[in-house]
């Protein structure tokens, strides 16, 4: 039994100074890609709507990584987990992107406030005039309330993320246990606030794209996707960092094993939620609900739906089941990358079909995604620069470093 209770002296726990340069480069690439994507939209029919959808999907993709990571961090504190401390800072970095990331929602917010209905049909006054159902929903689906709620969601997330970021960093300096106690105490109420805001955010931003449709489990579905994506991202970040020489000894096969188990478990959870939603709507066969799924099995979307079922659930479930797969960095990272791709497909599948045409992945979507990813990466690097990649003076660190999976 290896006894490793403290960080080895040679352990590199801080990003090299070039990280800031890389952040700038990524930001430039990101902005550039987004602009290109916007320009490309002029060349396409319905380009503006498609650009907005691509923007929304990629924005939500990166947002979901931060949200899932926030959930992970707060949950670890709630349960007083010891094993995860070695990787928790990575989650904190992802979550700490939330305040800045909210700025990227401003374009959508602006569009909604000026009454543009290209993205959200309920915001199109002409549309609403002829639709009694939308009129009935107006007390909720109206631009000002939408904006207030969006601000509220981001405020709550930013507050929680910053709270945990500040305390965790402060503990790096002083090692004062009161920080851990504070983070523990706040965990419960933070998760409640998190749960409610994520639920309603998914209703507002994704479910209302098809404003006639509704599903009570939609928030849980989105949440499940966020958590899967966040664990996948954590795995990929950890593996990448180790590849570049950081945290070589701190993150072990045992940590990957646990991350793999959680990835496996939440993949199954995602499948369970997806199946519940589908099966209940399919079984009762009520037209006002089935229309959403009908859209997703016509005009070429059926292939995407089946691809999602197989790729987001069946394949990873089988692939992540063996113990060896979870303990092997390369295999686990491959599955993590695959699941991130599938998560993007999931968001695409959620958002785009109501637009009417078939699934048309175009350069526009890719550029948008590249843009968002670049910006996101830049934000992460910027946050992580000059900070420890592992909470050096966390009281549970010793337990985490010595952690053996059974």
């Amino acid at each position: 039994m290896k006894e490793r209770e403290s960080l080895s002296v040679s352990e590199v726990t801080c990003l090299s100074p070039s990280a800031v340069c890389w952040a700038r480069r990524l930001a430039a690439v990101g902005v550039g890609s987004l602009l290109l994507s916007f320009l490309a939209s002029f060349a396409l029919r319905d380009g503006f709507s498609r650009f907005l959808l691509a923007y929304l999907v990629s924005f939500c993709f990166c947002l979901s990584l931060s949200l899932g990571a926030l959930f992970f961090v707060v949950l670890q504190h709630l349960t007083r987990a010891g094993w995860s401390v070695a990787v928790r800072r990575l989650g904190e970095i992802l979550a700490a992107a939330l305040p800045v990331w909210s700025l990227l929602f401003l374009p959508i917010l602006f569009l909604v406030l000026v009454g543009d209905g290209s993205l959200y049909p309920w915001n199109d006054a002409a549309h609403v005039e002829h639709d009694p159902l939308l009129q009935a929903k107006q007390p909720y689906l109206n631009a000002p309330f939408f904006a207030i709620r969006a601000l509220l969601y981001f405020a709550v997330w930013a507050w929680i993320a910053r709270f945990y970021w500040r305390h965790s960093l402060a503990q790096d300096e002083t090692g004062d246990k009161s920080h851990t106690l504070a983070m523990q105490r706040r965990a419960g109420i933070s998760l409640v606030a998190f749960g409610l805001t994520v639920t309603f955010a998914s209703f507002d931003w994704l479910m209302s794209l098809d404003p006639h449709w509704f599903s009570t489990i939609f928030g849980v579905y989105f949440f499940a996707g966020c958590v899967v994506a966040a664990f996948a991202a954590l795995v990929l970040i950890a593996v990448s960092l180790q590849k570049f020489g950081y945290l070589q000894d701190s993150i072990t096969a045992d940590h990957y094993h646990d991350l793999g188990k959680l990835l496996f478990g939440f993949t199954f959870f995602w499948g369970y939620i997806a199946f519940s939603q589908y099966m209940l709507i399919w079984y009762a066969d009520i037209p006002e609900e089935t229309v959403w799924y009908l859209t997703r099995q016509s005009h070429g979307w059926a292939a995407i739906s089946l691809f999602l079922l197989g790729g987001h659930f069946l394949l990873p479930f089988c692939g992540l089941m063996p113990r060896r797969a979870k303990r092997n960095k390369r295999v686990l990272a491959a599955w993590a990358a695959w699941l991130l791709v599938m998560h993007w497909v999931d968001l695409y599948w959620l958002a785009v079909p109501h637009a009417g045409s078939g699934p048309a992945f175009s350069v526009l979507d890719l550029l948008c995604l590249a843009g968002m990813a670049g910006l996101y990466g830049a934000v992460l690097l910027r946050i992580a620069a000059d900070r420890q990649l592992i909470p050096r003076r966390d009281p549970w660190l010793a337990e985490s470093l010595a952690f053996r999976n059974g």
């Binding site: 039994m1 349960t79 007083r80 010891g82 094993w83 159902l133 009935a136 929903k137 909720y140 246990k177 851990t180 106690l181 523990q184 419960g188 109420i189 409640v192 749960g195 409610l196 639920t199 209703f203 509704f214 599903s215 009570t216 489990i217 939609f218 928030g219 849980v220 188990k261 199954f268 369970y272 939620i273 519940s276 939603q277 099966m279 209940l280 709507i281 079984y283 009762a284 009520i286 006002e288 966390d394 009281p395 549970w396 010793a398 337990e399 059974g406």
Partner: protein
């Protein structure tokens, strides 16, 4: 043998970096063994056991008598009518099945999450699961009317019927789910008990006890090779029981959610029901375990930390249930479906409003007190909360089933339901059956998983949580 004092050591402190002891009072392997085995080995349990057993077996006898009356006379002895075709029978079924889920969660899910504190309570909770599922399974069995044809539900080649069950029906999924759950839980419980039964066998002083425990222990000898396979099987069963428990209450929720009845057809039912089941189940565990640890002198094994952890899970699941209420209510409005909107208004303001507000007060009101550490760590306070939650969860099923059925789409079909005395007495009788089995369990079987507790006791390098 160490002298274990009965002074309650508060191990609910929070000191980051230091894991609180899960076993207090300076126990060692010997004292743990003695503490638990002596309960199953004493010749005469205290008088209170006899009194309790007398009451519970009387109620159980009443239960079976009423079942006989029901079968001979017919479903008309209940208050079920058109449109309220499902009432106390299905409410009780869902109630008991839900309670069973806490046991599996403690056994399987907490095991997968390496929560070592579960070892003091898992035997107790698993037993509760078996007994709760037994009580649960009786209700759908007797509510079919012609109970002697209940075997038609099984997929056997029925020449004379020339037909097969309808696998597309959630009622049949229930048959498979509950039966699978009962059998797998029983296997898991029994498998967990084998090493402890061996302990009792090896300590047995009378021939009968030797024989009984000897057969039950299957010749277990504690061989390292056997332990290795045992641990693998345990982990496999835990990994299987986890999705099983999720699926069982999801399938139960499908009974309602696949329909089109307003208030029933909503996609969040599966996870919401599972959370509700764990919520109600943990309340029952707390209701049972707080007196048990007191009366059986197990305070050093089932410590305040265990209770606090259980209460935290209670709080978490209660909050999830409350959020689900809010989301359902919101989407009922958001969906714009007049029937769905009415269903929720009717719940709060209609003829069964009293049941709705009882549910809210008990589930949300009572459980939110658990935010206070004082409530989480004081036994009498948590008993009140747990009792309220048990009541509230029964009423939740009542609200869902009866209010939605009594008033659905067409006002001309609306009807009012009143339970008959048989309904109520059967419900009480089911508690009699549950407690009868439970009292027998605490008398004859090891209440705490000794082997598991010992395996996580500190002896140098192990850690607690």
């Amino acid at each position: 043998m160490s002298t274990a004092t009965q002074a309650a050591i508060d191990n609910t402190f929070d000191d980051p970096g230091r894991r609180a002891p899960l076993i207090t009072g300076g126990q060692d392997y010997t004292s743990v063994t003695d503490m638990v085995c002596s309960l199953a080995e004493r010749r005469q349990p205290p008088l209170a056991w006899y009194v309790a057993f007398g009451i519970s077996s009387t109620l159980a006898a009443m239960f079976f008598g009423l079942i006989g009356y029901l079968i001979v006379t017919g479903i008309g002895v209940w208050g079920n009518n058109a449109p309220v075709f499902w009432a106390f029978d299905i409410v009780n079924f869902v109630f008991w099945v839900g309670i069973g889920h806490a046991g599996t969660l403690i056994s399987a899910i907490l095991f997968l999450f390496r929560q070592n504190w579960r070892t003091s309570i898992n035997r107790f909770a698993e037993a509760m699961t078996i007994f709760a599922v037994t009580c649960a399974a009786i209700f759908p069995g007797i509510h079919v009317g012609r109970v002697w044809f209940a075997y038609w539900l099984a997929p056997y080649p029925a020449q004379h019927l020339e037909m097969w069950p309808n696998f597309r029906s959630p009622l049949l999924w229930d048959v498979f789910a509950v039966n699978t759950y009962a059998s797998i839980s029983a296997l898991f419980w029994y498998m967990g008990m084998i090493p402890d039964l061996a302990t009792l066998r090896d300590r047995a002083t009378t021939k009968w006890r030797q024989l009984a425990f000897g057969i039950a222990a299957l010749g277990w000898n504690g061989s390292a090779r056997h332990w290795m396979r045992y641990e693998t099987a345990y982990m496999l069963l835990a990994a299987l029981a986890t999705p099983l428990v999720l699926s069982v209450h999801s399938v139960v929720s499908f009974d309602f959610a696949v329909s089109q009845v307003p208030g029933w057809h909503t996609t969040i039912f599966p996870p919401y029901f599972v959370a509700g089941a764990v919520f109600g189940g943990f309340a029952m565990v707390i209701l049972l375990i707080v007196p048990a640890r007191q009366w059986f002198g197990l305070k050093h094994l089932i410590t305040l930390r265990h209770l606090e952890n259980m209460n935290k899970i209670l709080l978490a699941t209660g909050t999830i249930v409350g959020s689900a209420y809010a989301i359902e209510f919101f989407i009922a409005w958001y969906g714009g479906n007049a029937y769905e909107r009415f269903a929720f208004i009717n719940r709060a303001l209609g003829p069964y409003a009293w049941s709705y507000w009882t549910m809210i007060a008990c589930n949300l009101g009572a459980s939110q007190f658990l935010w206070l550490k004082k409530v989480r760590t004081t036994p009498w306070m948590m008993l009140i909360v747990a009792a309220a939650v048990t009541v509230g969860m029964w009423f939740e099923r009542f609200v869902i089933i009866v209010t939605s059925l009594s008033r659905d789409f067409l006002p001309s079909s609306w009807g009012f339901y009143k339970p008959t005395a048989i309904d109520i007495l059967m419900f009480i009788g089911s508690f009699g059956l549950f407690f009868t089995m439970f009292l027998l369990f605490v008398r004859y079987l090891p209440m705490v998983a000794m082997a598991e507790v010992k395996s996580m006791m500190p002896h140098g390098h192990e850690e607690e949580h």
